[in-house]
Symmetry: D2
Subunit: 344 residues, 4 copies
């Protein structure tokens, strides 16, 4: 029997992607949609300007949107997916958890909070146990799990695959797709025949979220990993798919072959949205490329290539679909993890 | 009285840009155009598929193209600009120098040869004296000067401005325009909604040419600089303007303000094609951007911005117009330097 | 039992698409691949630079490519799909038909020949009987069927749906995707921030092929339709999907509602590659759009919208995926029609 | 001595272009800048988010912006350029004219009013006398002149050049640049790898404004021309430059050569912003193209090419820079015309 789920912030770009993924999902059943006060009471069809590349599901289209308020969401909803703007998320997400809801959230607020698990299931599923600490400390019946930022998700699995070599220093330069800024985030006049070497707060997210994801949870406390990360972020005129140039320096010797082998061998999980092969390794030096490789594994795989001995350590490139693996798909995957681990 | 000049490889993309710059140039007069055997004997108008964004100069259009052979170029030509494909340049450029011609070449062959000055006038004009060594060793009446690769020219002036801080390690990630690959180098299907994390041999050029440019010439030998450079190169869908993300680690303390001040203060030259301000420093965190900033200083300025304390040292972004500052304009500037220093 | 098929010109862009469609096709089995003499004898994997967005099928990758010569194709191959360049097609396609092969060809040669059926199955499947005339006149055991040009296929089904209103005059302006010119057909420097109001010979194809497709076959002769068509063709920077602005003037009154209803009601066929709904009609005035609507019906549907009473008659817009519905998919559909009608 | 001018709506995209053109203009001196109430009282530097590709003029940057209210504009300002949103223009422009200001407006409101001259100086400068009627009827000391929509300006001069052939029917299909929608008008996700076959109210503007521009003024009344125009409008991913496909049917015989000759011969004016050659005719069939030809004549020339005998009459393509010739430059040109004709 399917778990009844709700989507907070259901009319936005990630909210629409969430609906696209959840509607056909055999383990979940969409039972609640929330949005801003101005949309409350409307049919979803009227409230959302549907922009996803598949038609709006008929049953969802006819659901009534409510305000983003715990009192408005039915009690038999067991799991919430949140894609609220972070300022609103910071305000209302805790209220839902206090009211007993379990939540898988894509919003950036609280990602770095000590008692909030920041999860990429294939990388640090064991951090989920931090929820015990969270419930103890906050007195919640519910629970809050976050997925990282899209640009973080792209490179952290490749670092995880190399962890055994004793990673010390990482430089990462990103070429990010316009969809990462939301539907209206980048105007055409800004980006045609252009690139923008700046995305507000993005570099800090790669630098800090990565260390939390690779950290150790000892049952009581989460210690961040010691790897040091420096990030430089760029927006380019691709629609979907973040491409990243990575340099790593490690304690152990780390050859291009070692790295490719370790990534190829890095295990995926058995969750429904997990790709068969988590990291797809290319031998061709000019891959991965956003348009050609972003949909590997249904948009949930990472791809890597261009392994080369660098002046300092090793360099390679990696890629992931930013609105699938990096946002809506990441939240759904975390929902599946919560289900498998008995939190619902 | 204007110096009579010739263009080797006059029908190609950089050759056309050279003609566009040289035709109105008060110090130079175009007196010879060479191309492949199949074009020899034709009027330039017929031989070249003119693709530059200003009309073909009438007088040049009616000149007759000759084969790329020293015997075909008039003796009263004093200076040659070469934009030959590197494989052809490697073959025929020395023959011209042996025949007594002074040459400013954009071709990549011989850039790293010990006795060939690789010059960015504002950075290492003193390396020009290496020509004495060159003439001694090769027994040439002529001389050969090279300008570096377009992606190298973009970031080396910013490193030169920081040299006093004792640069040790540099990481650079490039977002390069399609024009850098020549008119037919990148197909539309490769680059629309896409980026390519690979440009053949490009990374090595940034890593080695930069050290030669920053090296010391002691009157007899040129020693390369000790700074270590790691590069990662990407092609994106901009028409002109290479954007680069740079991280530098130095012996001395180097703050974002220090770096911006040093670049702002870095002197330009009085050569005709030199920009008034060599490095244009932006305070706005999202600049420079290719489309907005590539034509600063008539396409001959470098721009820099996004200075930020990084996890390791300092990071910033820089930009230059790749076919102007990075290719044809670079060769013309070197020609002006040769003239000023009495080599013509 | 699957029909054994061959692909002539298998290494080109349309050839690769054909392989992508034919490999999983339950009615066809790829048994021969031909290409130019320089590829003959090589494994397909080596001969083709695979550029399609799904991996190269393993079994096809290991097949040996032969020259495009009837003697090199096994006799038990019953159907050939041809995507040869038209100059080569003009030369060798007849030899294959004379040797007994039945051929569904996408090449532009011979499309307008009096005894060659030019077919869009949903529009003029009855023209297939022209093959009797063809075989009589040419003495062939084989047969040759052509599909029209991609820009013709996009708008002719919409005209067919309106034929009952007595079409007299049609103006059509096209916005065509770069893939229509082949992988290397349009360079990035030609099309970024640009449009090209010219595609060689394209306008004539829309003007003449449309009249042949809408013509009547009386059992002996094919008379072209009397509708007059004027076309103006443009290349824009979309990857796939030709968009067309159409004006029609008819003898009968023809309102926007009439037109939309007639298109919506226009029947599809039961062939395996036929879409359920042939023409998808949009109410939104800004649809169809290439990126959003080109994959409708698996890339085999036409879409139409923007119906409006014009100063002269009626205007609307239509769209089709140019390499699917307009090329490889069109040939496969014609192959299915040949199979269903007993020609194999 | 320069005429003192003001810019209404000075912070918007066209307002910024107006300032870029007016600041160096020898006949005009910027003396007033107005914007919405929220900007009133601020320095222009603070009020405007400057996005034009040349630096903000220092003296303008320090001017204080006022509300868009006749009482706020100094009395010694003689000429106003208006780029107000049309809804606001409809409200406040008449108040300025009533208060005695002469105005050259780019806003779409009132363009079709019977007593408002809609002017392209090279086409219908004589319509300016309609201002006598306007002043009589409205009792204004001031006066209001409009320039047409950018897509109208692109093709009407080519029609004017052909008027002697007795134009009867015109079809025009447009490929319009994103800048025509304003800086934020088209998001990147809407237009990358896409085209939009709809621009609200645009088709009607081409169909009606063209007839007014080509009409006759008999000293008392303006009669619209009898030519019938049908338009279909598309947005594509070019930054600047509207490209248009045109078909014309005329009473007289009209060959491609006739048309090219008539356009080549069509006179420009002696106004300061007029290009030397108004219509630049290309022989190459693939020109004009937006990126290559939009800056001809300083962005104030029209270009035309692709002349071909069509199934119905004649077809050709034309192009103009939409924010220069089609908006800010058009208004400045009308200001120069008002000055030359003694209205200031």
């Amino acid at each position: 029997m399917a778990v009844r789920v709700g989507v907070l912030g259901a009319t936005g770009a990630v909210g629409q992607r969430l609906i696209q993924l959840l509607d056909p999902h055999p383990e979940f059943e969409i039972a609640a949609l929330t949005a801003s006060a101005s949309s409350a009471g409307k049919q979803y069809r009227q409230a959302a300007k549907w922009r996803v590349d598949s038609p709006i599901p008929e049953d969802v289209a006819e659901m009534t949107v409510t305000a983003t308020d715990p009192d408005e969401v039915p009690d038999d909803v067991d799991l919430l997916f949140s894609s609220l703007p972070s300022s609103i998320g910071a305000e209302v997400e805790p209220a839902f958890c206090e009211a007993g809801y379990v939540m898988s959230s894509n919003s950036s607020n609280a990602r770095m909070a000590e008692d909030v698990p920041l999860i990429i299931p294939e990388v640090n599923a064991d951090h989920l146990e931090l929820l015990e600490v969270q419930r103890d400390e906050r007195g919640w019946d519910g629970a809050m799990v976050k997925n990282p930022n899209c640009s973080t998700i792209t490179f952290v699995p490749t670092l995880a695959a190399l962890e055994e070599f004793g990673l010390e220093r990482v430089h990462v330069s990103t070429l990010q797709a316009v969809s990462g800024a939301g539907y209206d985030g980048v105007t055409s006049m800004e980006i045609i025949d252009n690139a923008i070497p700046y995305i507000g707060s993005e570099e800090e997210k790669l630098e800090t979220e990565s260390r939390k994801l690779l950290g150790e949870f000892d049952g009581a406390e989460l210690s961040h990993d010691s790897v040091e990360v420096a990030a430089s972020c760029n927006r380019i005129s691709t629609l979907d798919g973040h491409l990243e140039n990575v340099w790593v320096e490690a304690q152990e010797e780390l050859t291009p072959e070692d790295a490719a082998d370790a990534m190829e061998a890095y295990p995926s999980l058995d969750l429904r949205s997990s790709p068969d092969q988590l990291i797809h390794v290319f031998e061709e030096p000019d891959r991965p490329q956003p348009r050609l490789d972003r949909t590997l594994g249904g948009g949930m795989a990472i791809s890597a290539g261009g392994f080369r001995e660098s002046t300092f350590g090793l360099q390679y490139n990696c890629l992931a679909h930013n609105t699938m693996r990096g946002a809506a798909g990441a939240s759904v995957l975390n929902g599946e993890l919560l289900l498998e681990n008995g939190y619902l």
